[in-house]
C-alpha cells in the first residue's frame, strides 16, 4: 500500500512535468475519442442516409433489371412476395416502385434521370425524403394532384427551374453595395453560375465573400408548378411523353442520389407507361432491426429463387467501403496518437528515474527488491496515465455530447463531402463500448510505455546509484 502512496507522491515531485504528461494523455484521449466520434458520426449518417433515404434495407427486382433496366422487366410473383413480406414480423414497411429511365425537358434545359413511381403513404413510411424538401420549394407528392413530380435541387438547376433575381428593396445591404448592384436590380438569371458571374463583375472579391451568400439566398426563387415533359419508352415499346408538374424540390446530402432520380405517383407512371395493373419493377423493404437483414434476405432468396434480392450493402457497396475506410482511418489516427503518447511517457519516466537514481539506489540498498521497484515505477506511470485518461474521457464525452447536439458544419469542404455521399453537417457520436476501449487503449499504452523505464530502473546497481550526486 505504501508503494502506491510513494508512487502517487512521487508523481507530484515535479508538478510541471507531470501536468504536461497528464495533459498529453488527456489530449490524446480526448482527440482519440473525438476522432472516433466524428468518424462514427460521418459513417453513421451516411449509412442512415443509405438505408432511410436512398435504398431501404433491401430491394427485390427481376433478375436482370439492375444490369439492364428496361420497362418490360417487371418483378414476377408480386402478390406472393408482398404476402410473404406482410406476415414477417421483422418487416416494418414495404414500398413498391415503378422505375423508368426518362428524358426530362423544360423550355430551358433537359436531363436524363430515373422516374420512380411511388405510393406516397408507404413511401413516406419507408423513406425520410419528405424531410429533405427545401423550404419554400413546395411539398411532398400528393395523390390528389394531377401528375405531380418531386425533383431534386440539382435537377431543378439543370432544368432551369431555379432562378436568381436581385431584389434590392428586399435585401438589406449597405448603400455602397446597393449602388453597385443597381444595374442588376430585377434581372433574372437561370443558373447560379451566371448569377455569380454577374455579381462578381460589379462587386470586389471581398464584397462577394461578405454579401454573396445572403444575396444568393434572397435572389433564389423556385418556379412553382413548373412543367417538365418526360419522354420514355412505354410497356409496348413506343416512345411516349408525359407532362409532370413540379410539386416540390428536395436536397439530400448525397448529390449522386439527387442527380439521378425524380419521384412521381405510381398510378400516374403506370398509366403513362401503359404498364398493366399491379406490374412493378422493385419492392423496397424496411426492417424493424437491421440485425434481421441476413435472415430475411436468405429466406426471400430461398422462397423466390427467380428474383433478385439484394441488401443495401450489395446495392451500395461504396457505402460499405467508405465505412471500412473511415474505420481504418480512425484506427490509424488513434495509432499515431498512442504512439506519440508512448514516447512522451517513456521520456518522462526515464527523466524521473535519472533524477532519482540515488534514491532508488538507497531503496534497493535497504531491502526493496526488484519486483517492488518495478511495481513503484509502473504505479507512477499508471497514475499519470489514469488521471490524464480520466480527464480526457470526461472532456471527450463532453465534446462529443456538445457537438452531437450542435453538429459540426464542414463549410469549406461541404460540396466535396456531398459528392462522396457524406453530410456537410456531422453529428459526432460514440458507443459506450468504444468509449471504454479507447480509454483502455490509452491506459494500456501508458503501462507498456512504463516497461522500458522500469526495466532501466531494475538494472541500477544500488552501490553505484547511492554514489551518484542527484
Amino acid at each position: 500500500m505504501m508503494i502506491l502512496s510513494l508512487a502517487w507522491k512521487n508523481i507530484w515531485r515535479n508538478k510541471k512535468r507531470s501536468l504536461i504528461v497528464m495533459t498529453s494523455v488527456m489530449l490524446g484521449t480526448t482527440a482519440g475519442l473525438f476522432t472516433l466520434g466524428l468518424t462514427y458520426g460521418m459513417v453513421g449518417e451516411k449509412l442512415d442516409a443509405v438505408v432511410y433515404t436512398e435504398l431501404s434495407h433491401l430491394q427485390i427486382h427481376q433478375k436482370t433489371f439492375l444490369r439492364h433496366p428496361e420497362i418490360t422487366k417487371t418483378l414476377p410473383h408480386v402478390d406472393s412476395i408482398m404476402a410473404f413480406l406482410n406476415v414477417r414480423a421483422e418487416v416494418k414497411t414495404i414500398s413498391p416502385h415503378i422505375r423508368i429511365t426518362a428524358m426530362g425537358s423544360t423550355s430551358r434545359g433537359n436531363t436524363s434521370l430515373d422516374l420512380l413511381g411511388v405510393d406516397p403513404t408507404s413511401e413516406q413510411a419507408l423513406s425520410n425524403l419528405n424531410e429533405h424538401i427545401l423550404p419554400g420549394s413546395g411539398h411532398y407528392l400528393n395523390s390528389d394532384e394531377q401528375y405531380p413530380i418531386l425533383i431534386s435541387d440539382k435537377t431543378a438547376e439543370q432544368l432551369r427551374i431555379k432562378t436568381y433575381t436581385i431584389k434590392l428593396d428586399k435585401t438589406p445591404l449597405p448603400l455602397a453595395i446597393t449602388t453597385k448592384l443597381q444595374a442588376l436590380n430585377g434581372k433574372r438569371f437561370f443558373t447560379k453560375k451566371k448569377f455569380k458571374r454577374a455579381v462578381s463583375n460589379v462587386l470586389t472579391e471581398k464584397e462577394v465573400s461578405l454579401y454573396g451568400p445572403s444575396l444568393t439566398q434572397a435572389a433564389l426563387q423556385y418556379r412553382h408548378h413548373a412543367k417538365i415533359v418526360f419522354t420514355f419508352t412505354d410497356a409496348t415499346g413506343l416512345l411516349v411523353s408525359q407532362l409532370f408538374s413540379v410539386c416540390g424540390i428536395f436536397k439530400t446530402d448525397f448529390s449522386g442520389f439527387d442527380e439521378g432520380r425524380a419521384f412521381v405517383l405510381r398510378k400516374d407512371l403506370a398509366k403513362a407507361s401503359h404498364l398493366p395493373r399491379n406490374q412493378i419493377h422493385e419492392i423496397c423493404v424496411l426492417l424493424h432491426q437491421a440485425e434481421a437483414l441476413p435472415t430475411v434476405v436468405q429466406d426471400l432468396k430461398t422462397t423466390f429463387p427467380d428474383v433478385d434480392v439484394q441488401d443495401w450493402k450489395a446495392l451500395s457497396p461504396i457505402g460499405e467501403v467508405f465505412s471500412q475506410m473511415m474505420g481504418l482511418y480512425s484506427l490509424m489516427v488513434m495509432g499515431f496518437i498512442l504512439f506519440a503518447l508512448a514516447f512522451g511517457i517513456v521520456n518522462t519516466m526515464l527523466m524521473a528515474i535519472l533524477e532519482r537514481t540515488k534514491e532508488l539506489g538507497m531503496l534497493m540498498a535497504i531491502g526493496m527488491n526488484r519486483r517492488r521497484v518495478f511495481q513503484l515505477i509502473m504505479s507512477e506511470t499508471i497514475f499519470l496515465t489514469l488521471v490524464g485518461a480520466f480527464v480526457g474521457m470526461v472532456l471527450g464525452a463532453a465534446l462529443i455530447a456538445i457537438t452531437h447536439h450542435t453538429g459540426i458544419y464542414f463549410s469549406s469542404i461541404a460540396e466535396g463531402f456531398q459528392e462522396m455521399g457524406f453530410a456537410a453537417v456531422v453529428y459526432p457520436t460514440i458507443g459506450a463500448q468504444d468509449f471504454i476501449i479507447i480509454t483502455l487503449l490509452v491506459i494500456l499504452t501508458g503501462i507498456l510505455s512504463a516497461i522500458y523505464p522500469a526495466r532501466k530502473a531494475l538494472k541500477l546497481n544500488p552501490l553505484e546509484a547511492i554514489r551518484t550526486e542527484n
Partner: protein, 230 residues
C-alpha cells in the same frame, strides 16, 4: 557472546583500465552482538568498501563474509536483497530519506516492506521516533527537518526493522558538533539499552571517543584492533 559478523580472509580488488586496486586486503574480523565499533582510517583506506561488503552491497573478490551464521557468498542477488531487509540497518552519510514521505512514513516504510502487521508498524514507528527525540515531528517531511533531525530519522529507520546490526557510513560527516553529539548519544543509548550492534566508519575524533572498539584500516588492511572500556 554471539558472533554477528565473521569475515574470513576477504579481498576486494577493483579493476580499472590499466591498474588493479586492492581496496580490502586479506581482512579477518569478527564482531560480537552488542558491539559498538568504529572503523577508522584515512580516505581511501577501504572503510566504505569493507562496510559495503559486510552490508551485502558488494561481493568480495575472495574470502567469506558470514553474517549471523549465514554465508553471503552462497546467496543469490535476490536472496541478498531480502537478507539486507531483514538483517541489516543502514545509515548513510547524506541521510538518504525519501523526500516525499514524512518522518513517520520513512520509518514505517521499511517495516511495510517486511510485511509487518499494520498495528505493530504504527506502534513501533511512534515509539522509535519518540525515542530519537522526534515524537513531535512525525508528520514533518525531510525538507522541514534539520540535518541532525534527518539523520535521527535515518537511525530510527535503520533500527525499526529490528536488524541484526546497523551499518553507518560516516553518519556524522554532514552534522555540526551539537547534532553529532546528540546522534552519538542516541546510537550509544540504542546500543546500551537494546543491545543493537553498530558498525560505523568515521574520521571524527569525537565519534571515535564514543566507540567501544576501534578498527584502524590502512591500505585495505586492519592494522589495529583496539577494544576500549565501555
Amino acid at each position: 557472546m554471539n558472533t554477528i559478523i565473521e569475515i574470513k580472509d576477504v579481498v576486494k580488488v577493483y579493476h580499472s583500465a590499466a591498474i588493479q586496486v586492492k581496496a580490502v586486503d586479506h581482512v579477518n574480523l569478527t564482531i560480537q552482538q552488542g558491539e559498538f565499533t568504529a572503523l577508522v582510517g584515512p580516505s581511501g583506506s577501504g572503510k566504505t568498501t569493507l562496510l559495503n561488503l559486510i552490508g551485502g552491497l558488494d561481493k568480495p573478490s575472495s574470502g567469506e563474509i558470514i553474517i549471523d551464521h549465514t554465508n553471503l557468498n552462497a546467496m543469490s542477488a535476490k536472496q541478498i536483497v531480502d537478507f539486507r531487509l531483514q538483517n541489516i540497518g543502514f545509515v548513510f552519510q547524506s541521510y538518504n530519506l525519501i523526500p516525499v514521505f514524512s518522518a513517520q512514513e520513512n520509518v514505517s516504510f521499511i517495516m511495510e516492506l517486511q510485511h509487518r502487521p499494520k498495528k505493530e508498524i504504527a506502534k513501533r514507528t511512534i515509539e522509535i521516533l519518540t525515542q530519537v527525540g522526534l515524537g513531535d515531528r512525525l508528520e514533518s517531511r525531510p525538507s522541514e527537518l534539520s540535518g541532525g533531525q534527518q539523520q535521527r530519522v535515518a537511525v530510527a529507520r535503520a533500527i525499526a526493522s529490528r536488524p541484526t546490526f546497523v551499518i553507518a557510513d560516516e553518519p556524522t560527516a554532514n552534522l555540526d558538533s551539537k547534532s553529532t553529539a546528540q546522534l552519538l548519544d542516541l546510537m550509544e543509548k540504542m546500543n546500551r539499552e537494546e543491545n543493537i550492534t553498530f558498525l560505523f566508519s568515521t574520521h571524527d575524533k569525537r565519534v571515535m571517543d564514543k566507540a567501544h572498539r576501534i578498527l584502524v584500516l590502512e591500505d585495505g588492511k586492519i592494522v589495529k584492533d583496539e577494544k576500549l572500556q565501555s
